[in-house]
């Protein structure tokens, strides 16, 4: 009786601390799912701004899956350390009303188009910040994916260097928009959602 009680008690303790594990395809879907609290949406006037928090495992998985959707565990373990020291986000800017590229929609003529494209390609990085606890982090890595007006959205990939001491608070991404007229955008990611991200099954 005594041993049974101890066994049940240990089982409860172990199951509480256990991180959920998901098949790598399910893991990818989990990260991209709006319900996970890692893919946040903000709609202002005609624009929909979607920001996806991308953990190191997610980015390493993206690098390790081939065209046949086969995962290479070796590639994964090599890629993972490269993503450990930064917070990564993908921001998508979409025009809600028109099925047009948002830059195209916002610009009246070619000069305006060129101006917005230049801002998005080179200067928007300066208007991005991440508030992690008491630290305000600069965007250290930025890439605007120019799709040459072919898609109804624009994607930006960005990274912020993690502070030396681990942050155990919510993360707030701030984008001080200068071209779409939507103003300062803030999107908060709850610490609880970040801490409870499942682990992908690799083998």
């Amino acid at each position: 009786m005594k041993y049974t009680t101890i066994f049940i008690f240990l089982l409860i303790i172990l199951s509480c601390g256990k991180v959920e594990k998901l098949d790598f395809a399910d893991y990818m879907n989990f990260i991209e799912n709006e319900k996970s609290g890692l893919n946040m949406v903000k709609e202002i006037a005609d624009y929909k701004i979607q920001v996806n928090y991308q953990p190191a495992e997610y980015l390493a998985l993206k690098e390790s899956i081939d065209k046949e959707k086969q995962l290479s565990a070796d590639k994964f373990s090599k890629a993972l350390p490269h993503y450990r020291n930064h917070y990564y986000f993908r921001m998508r800017i979409e025009n809600k009303k028109q099925y047009n590229n948002p830059i195209m929609e916002q610009s009246g003529d070619y000069d305006e188009y060129a101006y917005i494209l230049e801002y998005m390609s080179f200067y928007a990085q300066n208007d991005l910040k991440l508030v992690a606890g008491k630290d305000t982090l600069k965007c250290v890595n930025y890439h605007f994916e120019n799709n040459y007006k072919l898609l109804p959205f624009n994607d930006i990939q960005m990274a912020f260097k993690k502070p030396q001491t681990p942050v155990n608070e919510n993360l707030t991404l701030i984008w001080d928009d200068q071209v779409y007229g939507v103003g300062r955008i803030k999107i908060e990611f709850e610490n609880e959602n970040i801490n409870n991200i499942p682990q992908p099954i690799i083998n």
């Binding site: 903000k42 202002i44 707030t172 939507v182 300062r184 908060e188």
Partner: protein, 173 residues
């Protein structure tokens, strides 16, 4: 007698149902004091502070040019140089400083307008979302211009809306 009792019970029940339905189907409406919401909106406070900072820097640059002008004037008085060329140069400089000051003020005004547009764009969106989430048929904006002449205080949702719009602005769910 039993049937009569039964009928009166059914009628009373129907009455309650109709009254409840009428109560529920009444269009739900409220109003907010827009000036208060605008002033308490975090984005407005932040952009106002930014604008003040920009204004101080830009006008500070113009003021430093004014100091140069004043020293020019002092030099002119001290040296007694009051030939037409020196006066013309001084006047030219004075004109340029005044022109720059005017330009800076105009630019600040344009920026202020731009910031106001951004604030209203977000505020309008959050007010729409508030109305939608709380199932309002109408959400009126009282701005003191006479668009709403009278409303009961209990329909004033200003304080609740201020909390809501600031929460939304901070990016919280």
């Amino acid at each position: 007698m039993k049937i009569l009792n039964y009928l009166s019970f059914v009628l009373a029940l129907a009455g309650v149902v109709v009254a409840a339905w009428l109560y529920v189907s009444q269009p739900k409406s409220a109003y907010v004091e827009l000036d208060k919401v605008f002033d308490a909106f975090e984005l407005k406070k932040e952009l106002e502070a930014d604008l003040e900072k920009i204004g101080k820097i830009k006008l500070g640059q113009v003021d430093s040019l004014k100091l140069v002008m004043e020293s020019m004037q002092r030099d002119m008085s001290a040296s007694g140089k009051k030939d037409s060329e020196t006066i013309k140069k001084y006047q030219q400089e004075a004109y340029e400083v005044a022109y720059k000051k005017q330009q800076v003020e105009e630019n600040i005004e344009i920026l202020k307008q731009e910031y106001n547009d951004r604030i209203w764009k977000q505020l309008n969106q959050y007010l729409r979302d508030y109305g939608h989430e709380n199932k309002y048929e109408f959400l009126f904006g009282a701005s003191g211009s006479g668009s709403i002449m009278y409303a009961k205080k209990e329909n004033n949702m200003t304080d609740e809306v201020i909390i809501y719009v600031n929460k939304r602005y901070q990016g919280k769910k």
